[in-house]
């Protein structure tokens, strides 16, 4: 076997590092516990996947940071493609809980004391990932608990990340930049219509069409409609502006037009990521509860309540789902102006 001049699998993957990074504490202490290897390797593979998701997220954030995104470039395609990869990794991460659950509480006890106070809450890569997507320190549950578990340099890294626009902010900006309602393509529609203060006659027509779909007991939804799509104050603390909300709704409604196909897939992928992270947190909670009951976890007694709170509060993209309350059937949609229709299609 001659591979002097070529790449060797084990060298390329640096298996000398990867496969020599497991030193069970229980062995060092002379009380070898068989299952500690599983504990180590499960966490190491999670960290590798976190690194991979960070890698994808950096590239996504990089693309979305461009001042304009040319729809004739591969930009949005790449964003969608890499979000789908993140989705695939989250699905795997959820499945991976099955493997750690093959460890019983009693098996865990055999080495648990050697680990104190190490805890998964100390995974700064996961925190970085959350921050890149848009979870802000100020919106986090248990800020002190959170800080207590991170090294100062990691807290600084995360603070630094927060200074740059996160994915949800970049999505907001991208949605705001969509030129559907502020350019010449709507001229014919605009001239004929009445906007009733709703920014553009299209929205006046849409609100009327939406109203027609409501049951009597749903009429209060109209208030929500005005708040979400036209009230700056209401959205001030939300992650998407009224303008961005309108673009998002428009994309959802007219996603059959070629120009909106990928934007729709992008919004849908973000919702999917939120859902998968929620499922992962749910599995995590159940796993911890089965493993240690109500005893303090390796992360201390606040751990379990932190996990539950993070499942219930640490959503990032679910603001996009809010638009779903205000959709109407295709057959009732206002017809677009012919100039806009043409703009949403291919040149050919």
């Amino acid at each position: 076997m001659e591979r002097e001049d070529g790449v060797y699998y084990g060298d390329y993957l640096q298996l000398d590092k990867i496969l020599n990074a497991q030193e069970p504490k229980s062995e060092i202490e002379g009380k070898a516990a068989h299952d500690e290897m599983l504990f180590i390797i499960v966490h190491q593979t999670y960290e590798l996947w976190f690194k991979q998701m960070k890698h994808e997220m950096e590239s996504i954030v990089g693309i979305m940071t461009k001042p304009t995104i040319n729809e004739n470039s591969a930009d949005i395609y790449m964003v969608v493609h890499r979000l789908k990869r993140i989705i695939s990794i989250w699905e795997l991460s959820i499945k991976q809980v099955d493997v750690i659950e093959t460890m019983t509480p009693l098996d865990f006890l055999d080495f648990r004391d050697f680990l104190r106070p190490a805890s998964g809450f100390q995974s700064y890569q996961f925190k970085i990932l959350e921050a890149m997507m848009g979870l802000r320190f100020k919106d986090r549950h248990g800020k002190e608990f959170y800080k207590k578990h991170l090294r100062p340099e990691h807290i600084d890294t995360i603070a630094e990340i927060e200074k740059h626009p996160s994915l949800i902010e970049l999505v907001n900006n991208w949605l705001e930049r969509m030129p559907f309602f502020n350019d010449q393509y709507w001229e014919d529609y605009k001239r004929s219509g009445d906007n009733n203060g709703l920014d553009h006659p299209f929205w006046n027509d849409y609100k009327a069409a939406y109203t027609n779909t409501l049951l009597p007991e749903e009429m209060k939804n109209l208030e929500g409609f005005d708040l979400l799509f036209f009230n700056e104050d209401f959205n001030a603390k939300r992650r998407l502006s009224p303008k961005a909300n309108r673009s998002a709704l428009f994309i959802m409604l007219y996603r059959d037009y070629p120009l909106l196909t990928l934007p729709f897939q992008l919004l849908d992928a973000l919702l999917e990521i939120d859902e998968l992270m929620s499922t992962w947190r749910t599995r995590h909670i159940s796993m911890v509860s089965r493993m240690i009951g109500s005893r303090p976890g390796t992360g201390g007694s606040e751990g379990a309540s932190y996990l539950k709170a993070s499942r219930d509060k640490h959503f990032i993209f679910n603001v996009i789902a809010d638009m779903n309350s205000f959709l109407i059937e295709r057959s009732r949609l206002p017809e677009l102006s012919s100039s806009l229709q043409s703009r949403l299609g291919f040149r050919s």
Copy 2:
């Protein structure tokens, strides 16, 4: 092809019924919506799986209802085997949410109005399943909401089921009957020990061993120990009695003895079912939120909050996980009396 004298696949499966039970309302109304077929078939397959789980649960409840369960029969093996099948069906049911999520909100709107007020909340089979496992009407969230969605005959059926012992009650009885601490096999251990009011000297020893494992800040766990394992009042409204809790803990601790292998698998399977149902409810919540946002579901506006409450409250077997707070390492376990050890093993 001659099969006059034999069974034919399509007849055996009654495919004439199964495959002719889809009549989309949107077609009847002359506004055919492509995705209504998916909506119907997803729900029909769920109902078929509910029927299957009921079938398994009936057999499990039947076995557990026997006044005594002979450990030299296949009884406990069968219970565990069929619980594992239920687990497998729940895993499939969770995966099935992926399929319904290929329907977008806009596609759902095309036929949603035709369905009112039908709703998944009207699935009485699922309610029956919950009742068989031990969810009582009085412990349910939103009792009025619950009743409103069921036909009187189904409410009656469920009430009837509640009159019979549920699985959690039968598990309690089975655990209470375990003869570990009330017969002659402990004579030698008993005579030498002191029970300090803990029913049996074993528990006195165990509590001492457990105390030794506690960190200073965990000392309050001792209170929990006494409540869970020795306080009738504390457990009066809980589903397992102190005696049953003690047996469950004992099984978890000494599950390596052959006689306890299957009982341990049984307890573990119940926890797994609780966890899977919780994951399924979480997926259900996310799916509904993506599909209809905050508009009233086909089940009315209370639907979403009912789903969330049921995810947070409708646990049945998680009382078993409470024992996990009170485990200790194998190396610290009190040694069993030799007569008991022999009793926990095979005759050979």
Copy 3:
């Protein structure tokens, strides 16, 4: 509860039919076998999913049958969307094998004899699905075995389906119609280049670029290149013509251009379906082998070899994967003419 005027869940789903279509033969014969219910319900849910996939496939074939597909309509989007649903259903179908595998061989024996000679090979819906995608009777393994298990009316139905274009044929036609190389948009490129008999100067350039990527031992691939993309005889019995192959390769290479995003997703989805069906057949083979060993299945002794042959031969869309041997890196791709580039993008 008043729902006289509305739709009721159980009625809408026709649960009276669905839930009353299970009559275990072992019960009728007075030797009730617990697991026969599982056997029935697993097969009924499969048949429901086959119906759903047929429903999707009919709509896909309907769209693809149009003489021209307007890229500014939702047509290709819908085809891709529904193929992805079929993918999701296949993923579920594979997972469903886990459920049937909770039945042990001994449990199956308890009712197996009552079923003879019924067999899953008698599922005509699955055969119809294969035929709609493009599996022809003449390409099937074990034609006599196949016929023996179907009722005459089902054989006729499938023969009838074969008279209409299948999905693979429609995909071929759609690829052939792609106007990339036969219209005015390439004028500038054409005039300057030399086609060397490769239909268009682009291919001459591409072949040169491809040649540059080959290792010495790969040079024989050039022969394959000429056969696959330019030899009518070689492709005469294959499902895609040279022209269609060229279009497919072009789509794979330039999929970053907006006009080609959905066509690429379409080709990729077809490959995914082939892969999933192969995985499903593999699981099916293993399951049967675990269940009945080498004894004749309910479908007779030829069943097992039929299953293996169908896994190895009944691919439909893997001809698309053949193109993968002839890709080159993006950086080496011939640059498209500016008129074509513009044609592949949005108008805006």
Copy 4:
């Protein structure tokens, strides 16, 4: 944050090694390809899981190597428990193919040339795992191909492993040692029966009962019965001896007796592992075919055919499935002697 005296998560997991072991060749060469990170991390996580499975397998082999396995110890329980963990890891490994499949062929081409001739075929850990389970060098497909891809020291390691008993051999020995048919417990049954050369009267009775279940066209199965269970020559090159086969069949038939519950789970788990590895190989083949078509893989042109052959030939435990051809219904089983029945149960 003070953790001077305790364990820190990142140190414990040696994240400095784990997260600094990714150096994409394409970056080093100045032509950074985004997807190379995924390629590296997917393979590194696989290697971590291989290490984990080796860890489990070592412990399993260690237990099974004991000259006698006390059924009143936790031995068999532990073997089954750890086999189930291996099953869970294989299920995850199959799911992980989904993640690598998010890389398209074109994305792979961007860095593929930098990797030559590295190849997954150089994973010696996987080869070690196969060898520990019982795949022998002499039974491997493509021995030269196999050797060419391994470093001499790894070939030596694997040769060394082959000198020790593999899992399948240890399972054979354990089955052979089962004392069901060679001790005093069958005295009463023996005395009354006739063995007709079938080693023990039980088998004579069983063969008669089996014969009664056969259809006329299945009568040739009797030959297989004699070969598998009583012919030393026939089994000489097979991995299980006739005696072991008889024990395996006996376990399958009477698994409802407590003593046989865990042995049955053990045999079933081995079959499950074979099936999962076969599914993983199938997914691997499809993935490679989609990624590089018929071009030589990074492992050279023999790679694809090696993969297919390994899927079809590298089964280890499927000899256990052979027993499934010779099961009969519970109701027809010969009744065991009362002394044996008692021996198969608990003492209590």
